[in-house]
């Protein structure tokens, strides 16, 4: 039976970008249910002090976001903000205009635990998305199909349910928008280009729809949408695919709630399978880097960013419209090298240097309370190294680097 401390460490790995040193110990006495409730209940972090948005060559907004993730006040809301970025991404590499990407990012934050339908309504005609997926300047006469396809395939109903007719009809109804290059505002031109007109509805997913909001409502009305999103969220928090029965139940509740994010997360985290599914998926690079930097006591956002580039996962820079892949690829050899490159820079943490049992102190520093015998054996090898016996600081550095490179720290 796992201890409460082990379970609380698991809850914090999955619901935050930590745990940061000391957090597990602080929550252990509350137990898992209250820790889960506390993380769900934590309020959204403030966006009152936005990053500098005037220089599109700068990485300020990326660093700002990494700072939010690393905040000791971050909870499930921040974790869901990252989740949605992977589901409905907008990429700075293509849009290259922070002034319009920032409002889109604020939409993600606004609806991270709210209505997915409302979020999609707004993001669909947001200047950033119109640029990212080429809705801008798409017309009825020559519709651009990119958004109509990805909206269905990747954001709502899933590939199995997509037909070319619905892609084409969706693109017709979505047409007519563009992003004004001076104001950065989305504009709907109701004349020459858009004009299917109110009497010219298109047949889409079995309904007669009119304009972008009609398309979004139609996809959100599909039961496949609740199921598709629920499956993704389940994998994110549990690290395994849900059983059919679990997915049926979860999708039904999510749909009944009006695609409410808070309901979805609460259902998942309160499922008994959540607590038993420890170390079932990799810690994704952003999760690993934020947690590792906290354990090392380092705060350089530039170092975090450099490391994330090398690992292939940078906020605001998804590889494509499908977001980042999931699965064991994130514990590949090249990722092991990238992690070790950061880990060998571990400083000598006083609590580890001075400890009578430095191995235990290093593990505690990394919130590692569930450790395999093989990993213990490796740490013991360093703890008992004769050459390092009188070099407590150096020994502490190696121990911390090893903890950060261990399977236990590289998995969530």
């Amino acid at each position: 039976m796992p201890t409460t401390t082990q379970l609380v460490a698991h809850v914090l790995r999955r619901t935050t970008f930590g745990p940061y040193p000391g957090q597990v110990e602080a929550y252990a006495s509350r137990g898992t249910a209250r820790t889960i409730a506390a993380m769900i209940g934590r309020s959204a972090l403030s966006t009152a002090h936005p990053p500098n948005l005037t220089n599109d060559d700068s990485s300020d907004p990326v660093k700002w976001w990494l700072g939010q993730m690393a905040s000791h006040s971050a909870g499930v809301h921040e974790k869901m903000t990252w989740f949605w970025h992977g589901v409905v991404p907008v990429s700075h590499s293509k849009v290259y205009w922070w002034q319009v990407e920032w409002p889109a990012h604020k939409l993600v934050r606004q609806y991270a635990l709210g209505s997915y339908r409302s979020f999609l309504q707004k993001i669909t005609v947001s200047p950033a998305m119109l640029i990212y997926l080429d809705g801008s300047w798409s017309t009825v006469q020559g519709p651009n199909e990119n958004y109509a396809r990805e909206l269905q395939e990747l954001f709502t109903i899933g590939r199995e349910k997509v037909t070319e007719t619905n892609v084409h009809h969706g693109a017709l109804a979505l047409a007519g928008w563009h992003t004004d290059h001076d104001s950065g505002k989305a504009v709907f031109i109701n004349e020459r280009w858009a004009s299917l007109g109110s009497s010219h509805r298109v047949s889409f997913l079995g309904k007669q729809v009119y304009r972008a909001d009609g398309v979004v409502d139609a996809v959100c009305d599909q039961s496949a949408t609740a199921r598709f999103i629920a499956g993704k969220a389940w994998y994110y928090f549990v690290g395994k695919k849900p059983s059919t029965a679990t997915l049926d139940r979860l999708a039904a509740r999510y749909r009944k709630s009006g695609l409410n994010g808070r309901t979805l997360v609460t259902e998942i985290l309160e499922d008994p399978k959540f607590l038993t599914s420890r170390f079932t998926r990799p810690r994704y690079p952003v999760e690993w880097v934020v947690a590792a930097m906290a354990a090392m006591g380092l705060g350089s956002r530039q170092l975090m960013l450099d490391t994330l580039w090398g690992m292939g996962q940078v906020p605001f820079h998804p590889p494509n419209v499908a977001g980042w892949p999931t699965g064991d690829g994130w514990v590949s050899p090249s990722l092991a090298l990238a992690k070790a490159a950061l880990a060998v820079g571990s400083p000598a943490i006083k609590a580890v240097v001075d400890a009578s049992d430095p191995v235990a102190a290093a593990l505690k520093r990394c919130s590692m309370y569930e450790v395999s015998s093989q990993t213990r054996k490796a740490l013991k090898r360093v703890g008992e190294d004769r050459d390092l016996k009188s070099r407590k600081s150096d020994r502490a550095r190696i121990l911390l680097a090893l903890c950060l490179s261990s399977p236990e720290f590289c998995l969530a």
Binding site: D57, R149, E164, P333
Partner: protein, 415 residues
């Protein structure tokens, strides 16, 4: 779909002074004037393969546009009034009256490529992700779900089990194309040196490496994620020795990401270290839903310079007979253009084969007067045939061992 533009990363100095917009570092005399003598292929056991994976959907019609007065050329000019390649932007290709080549591929032309026309699948899907999955796994019509990738299966057949890596993807994470069952395949960040990070103090480094070795030993009673994590650590350690022994960097490469990837690939291919297949994801935005003409032309110029430098290095170092370079892309673009001066997702595309190949056009040019119901070309050469060619004609592996139902294309590679 949009692939990462690592401009910001490049500017951090991690990649030296390289930037995506940088020009050729060491410009040479115009390559198009050269007429390299391509050697005949080495013995099968020494052969290696480089695959340029042009994710996003590379438009073959813009690489090799139809020309002249035929009905296909007429249809091309009519359907692509906004995005077509005009005669001024074309160069001649292998003496053809009906097929041209984009002028930004002039260097590649000098290397006498074989061009596979109308390459696609029998039942196309228009999703990037579905079609990439099929191209990576070698599953033409979504009928043979397999845990391994086509290139991974090839590695299994030709590779040495004791090699640190038989197949390598030079990207930012493992490629499903290289999923193998018998031999090691892995990915390497093209900007890293592949060497295991170290502590500079010798005693510290010894302790660190000894402990890392213990930590990377797989335990029989552990779960799959634990085994994967330990394997990742173990392979990183083994590969480090190979990486340390690579020969130095060649010159003449452009400062683009593809230039960096191909420069590293050449280092890996210039010695016998067990590596046989290198997969290179091309991080350019081939998904030209808008402004296709300019964007695609720029990508072609980028491709041209990097590939030219790579082939030149292999030639200069005496390895040109051992390496075949082949391109793949999940699909081409829609034939009629859209109102954004762009091209939506299409079906078949064209592929380039470079190295010890017979120059020429392979297969039939797609008939642009007979498009499918989605206005896309009907493939004239199929993925399975293309892959069968790489397996059987290049590596001597019976195609049925690695791909279902393909027939090798004749005439490209002299066995």
């Amino acid at each position: 779909m949009k692939l990462i533009d690592r401009r910001a990363f490049l500017e951090l100095g991690l990649a030296g002074s390289a930037g995506l917009a940088a020009t050729t570092l060491l410009p040479r005399a115009a390559s198009a004037a050269r007429r390299p003598n391509i050697p005949s292929a080495s013995s099968v056991g020494k052969r290696k393969l480089v695959v340029l994976d042009m994710g996003g959907g590379n438009d073959g019609l813009s690489m090799f546009p139809p020309k002249g007065g035929g009905s296909t050329a007429d249809a091309y000019r009519r359907l692509r009034s906004r995005t077509r390649v005009d005669p001024d932007d074309m160069i001649d290709l292998a003496g053809s009256d009906t097929v041209g080549m984009h002028k930004n591929l002039a260097r590649i032309k000098a290397w006498k490529p074989a061009v596979v026309m109308g390459l696609g699948v029998t039942k196309p899907d228009l999703s990037h992700f579905e079609m990439q999955r099929r191209w990576w796994s070698g599953d033409q019509d979504s009928a043979h779900l397999s845990a391994t990738g086509f290139l991974g299966r090839l590695c299994d057949h030709i590779g040495d089990r004791s090699a640190p890596a038989v197949g390598i993807s030079l990207g930012y994470g493992p490629s499903p194309a290289l999923n193998s069952a018998r031999v090691a395949t892995l990915s390497m960040n093209p900007y890293s040196d592949g060497e295991f990070p170290r502590f500079w103090d010798v005693d510290m480094d010894d302790a660190w490496k000894a402990a890392w070795k213990i930590m990377s030993e797989r335990q029989s009673n552990e779960t799959v994620p634990f085994c994967s994590a330990r394997d990742g650590a173990a392979y990183a350690r083994r590969f480090s020795d190979l990486a340390k022994g690579l020969p130095g960097q060649g010159g003449g490469y452009p400062g683009t990401e593809l230039g960096v990837q191909l420069r590293l690939a050449a280092r890996m291919l210039r010695q016998d270290n067990g590596i046989r297949i290198i997969h290179i994801p091309v991080f350019a935005d081939f998904d030209t839903h808008d402004d296709h003409r300019n964007r695609h032309a720029q990508i072609m110029a980028m491709l041209d310079k990097a590939v030219d430098a790579f082939l030149q290095e292999l030639m200069d170092t005496g390895h040109a007979d051992e390496v075949l370079l082949a391109t793949i892309s999940e699909f081409g673009r829609r034939v009629p253009d859209n109102e954004s001066n762009g091209l939506d997702h299409g079906a078949g595309s064209f592929a380039l084969l470079l190295g010890p190949v017979n120059q020429g056009l392979v297969g039939d040019y797609p008939d642009l007067t007979a498009l499918d119901r989605d206005d896309n070309i009907v493939a004239t050469v199929h993925m399975n045939d293309y892959y069968a060619t790489l397996a059987q004609k290049w590596f001597g592996v019976p195609s049925s061992e690695v791909i279902s139902g393909g027939t090798p294309l004749s005439g490209i590679i002299d066995s």
